[in-house]
Amino acid sequence: MEKHSLSSSFVPSTTTTTIPTPELLGEPTLSRRKHLKFWLRSLKSALPNGYTSTDLSRLSLAFFSLSALDLLGELDTSTTPQERKDWIDWVYLCQLPTGGFRGSPATVGATETWDVANLPACYFALAGLSMLGDDLSRVNWTGLGEFLVSVQRADGGFGEWVLKGGVSGQEGDTIMGGEDMRFMYCAMAVRWIMHGGGKDGPGRHLEGVKDVDVEGCVKFIKASTTYDSGFAAFPFIEAHAGHAYCALSALSLLGRLHDGVPPARTPGILRWLVSMQVPYVPEPDLQEPDQEPSKTPSAPYTVPGQEGYLNGKLTGGFCGRINKHGDTCYSFWVGGALDVLGHAGLMDMKANRWFLLGQTQHLIGGFGKLPGVEYRPDLLHSYLGLAALSIMGEPGLKKIDSALCISVDAKERIMEMPWLKKEEGDGVERR
């Protein structure tokens, strides 16, 4: 059972029949200084040993830290040029000689079958490098392009990595990792960065590099639409807000949003996305003694429209699936998806802000997954909490580009990369 702090003085609103009168409460605010401290600590000192299970995806942790500081506007001011230079070198240490990035140097030395490129790592590496001020000139674009093509399946979806020689070692290569919209998203973000965001085709650095099967991507994403108009990890599995974000952002990065989501389908998708916003109902501290505790209770709403008022303020973040509880990261996954569709205004920003700043923002900085001090902040939720607030225009945070999940500044930096610039007499117009 999820426990909430005993000090919470909220009366569960399920017991009330009328909306309680608003109390005078200070607006919760973003504790900038604490967040800054949290992120500098995560960047400059070793992470606790509980992060061992992310050892193979340390680039994702690096991305969260760098991008969080970037959103806070502190990346260039709170780190030294030498530190940034060394970090850039570390990211390149994760690049394979044949192209593509591993998630960390953990497999270096294990030979080419077992020390391989990882699709999400490629996205985190390119985004991280550009935030650090690198010009991406040391990226092996040909190898990266070939890796992208090699990790796409016949149905258009992407896997995570490629096992050379297949399971036996004597057959064709096998694409490893389940069907998963997150891999689609990472592939499309990498492709977007490779192409510098331009719509007029690859630059000179990509001459002779094969592109992925774009039509296959669109087909896979469309097929993953669910009966309730959400999106899932793959066709027929349950609709999930994280995968919906990945699906919509991937379409957007491909410049194919209107193919993937034709006007007739838009209302359904919007309906599903907004249905993820859930009034926050604190769980009672004490359980009925004879009640069998359930680890994953469904959200308890039974009376329409009566829940979610804490001290008179409507409070509620987002859940990831129908009938689940609000969780910090979904404020970004759903908010970002709505923003990509141009409809961020459909969410209740106030209620979402109250949920994030008043409930999951942690005393020591960062955000926990769920309300309550016992949910200690982790890097993923702490970053996505900031990212969600940035979509809603939180003062003191840089504006985020929802589809790329990095600041608009960082995005523009990529688009300004020198290798994308038109050369004299090139004749190619770039955006």
Binding site: S53, L56, W90, G109, V167, T226, I237, A299, P304, D348
Partner: protein, 382 residues
């Protein structure tokens, strides 16, 4: 902290001929993790074993050791899979041992029997790891590849339905995923695996699948994962469901709505059936009005209450209001096409749609007020 204890293996003793390869993290790494000494040592041996590409029982031991500390080490899983398949093919298990573990082995050629035993042993190991690391997803991908090979060994693809030995294995898999769902009935990885199982062994017609979904929904009618699996079983195969099946589904869903009208899952399911079968939503008008009698006199109106609820009976479901608004909006669109005669009807339908949407925005679902307002503007634009 790692959630489970590593098996007690002394690596230097197990691998005296292997020279560990330490990790080179560069002068100033990003996202450094305070590894335990145990993990650091084990990873150094793993790199060396990988470099030697050793596909042996020792590899199975070392990968098990790493996985216990870091179950998300994806190439470690890949390495284990290749080692397992190699060992299973080349290392026959002694007959006596095989017999004591699996009497059925007599009916098979020894090689196949031995390979099967290895793979079934792996499934047992995966049971243990999955229970320890509920949120991990690599385990399920690995299980899928092992089970696929077991399926191949047991009989011809596509003829699983009439193969009793396949049936037996499938039953075990259904039971184990059920055990996982006892811990978390919404575990996405386990549901993904269960769907794979249904597709791989063609279980769309296996009554156990639907029965199991109903057991879960009986326990928790709000379990959306169970609803989704139901949709997959009924509509996910190549065969179109019969009229009888559709009627059964509509009845089942409507009963679930009567039990908990504010539960969005069956409402979505109902929309799903209607979309699949091309049935117009307008046939649900009366059903919706049961839960949202928007034209009935109110039971009570407290002083100070918004005037909007005047003339409205007890609303027990915001989802009924939502669907009503959609039905009326559709109606208005159709009536608008009917020329001058439809004009009045169209305005009346628009009015009803707007009323439902205002009730949602102001009272029955205020957290989505912006959305309901947007829908209202769309209706008014008709």
């Amino acid at each position: 902290m790692p959630r489970s204890q590593s098996p007690p293996v002394d690596l230097p003793t197990l691998l005296p001929d292997i020279h560990p390869i330490p990790q080179d993290d560069g002068p100033r790494p990003l996202a450094q993790i305070a590894y335990t000494d145990t993990y650091t040592e084990a990873m150094s041996y793993l790199r060396a074993l990988m470099a030697a590409n050793e596909l042996s029982e020792r590899t199975l031991k070392v990968t098990e050791y790493i996985i216990a500390i870091n179950p998300a080490h994806y190439t470690c899983w890949g390495f284990r899979l290749r080692a397992l398949f190699q060992v299973a093919k080349t290392q026959p298990l002694p007959d006596a041992q095989a017999e004591s573990r699996e009497p059925a082995v007599k009916q098979e050629q020894l090689a196949v029997g031995s390979e099967l035993l290895w793979l079934k042993g792996e499934i047992k190991y995966l049971d243990k790891v999955a229970l320890q690391h509920e949120k991990n997803y690599q385990i399920w991908h690995h299980r899928q590849m092992v089970m696929d090979r077991i399926g191949e060994l047991l009989g011809e693809r596509g003829k699983e339905e009439e193969n009793p030995r396949v049936k037996e294995v499938v039953k075990c898999e259904q039971a184990f995923t059920g055990r996982m769902f006892d811990l978390d009935s919404k575990n996405y990885h386990v549901w993904s695996y269960r769907q794979w199982l249904v597709r791989r062994f063609n279980l769309f017609k296996d009554p156990a699948e639907l029965t199991y979904v109903e057991t879960l929904l009986w326990k928790d009618v709000r379990n959306n994962s169970a609803w989704n699996h139901r949709f997959f079983i009924v509509f996910g195969s190549a065969t179109r469901p019969s009229e009888d099946v559709i009627t059964r589904e509509v009845d089942y869903t409507q009963s679930a709505i009567y039990i908990a009208p504010q539960n969005p899952s069956p409402w979505n399911y109902l929309r799903g059936i209607f979309a699949q079968t091309g049935t117009p939503l307008s046939t649900l008008l009366t059903f919706c009005l049961t839960f949202a009698p928007i034209s009935k006199p109110p039971a009570t109106t407290s002083p100070g209450e918004s005037p909007i609820i005047a003339g409205v009976g007890e609303i027990t479901s915001s989802h009924a209001l939502d669907l009503l608004a959609e039905i009326y909006a559709e109606k208005a669109k159709l009536e608008g096409r009917g020329g001058a005669a439809g004009g009045e009807a169209k305005e009346e339908s628009k009015l009803q749609a707007v009323k439902a949407l205002e009730l949602l925005a102001e009272r029955y679902d205020p957290i989505r007020a912006n959305y309901w307002d947007w829908r209202k503007r769309e209706v008014l634009a008709v």
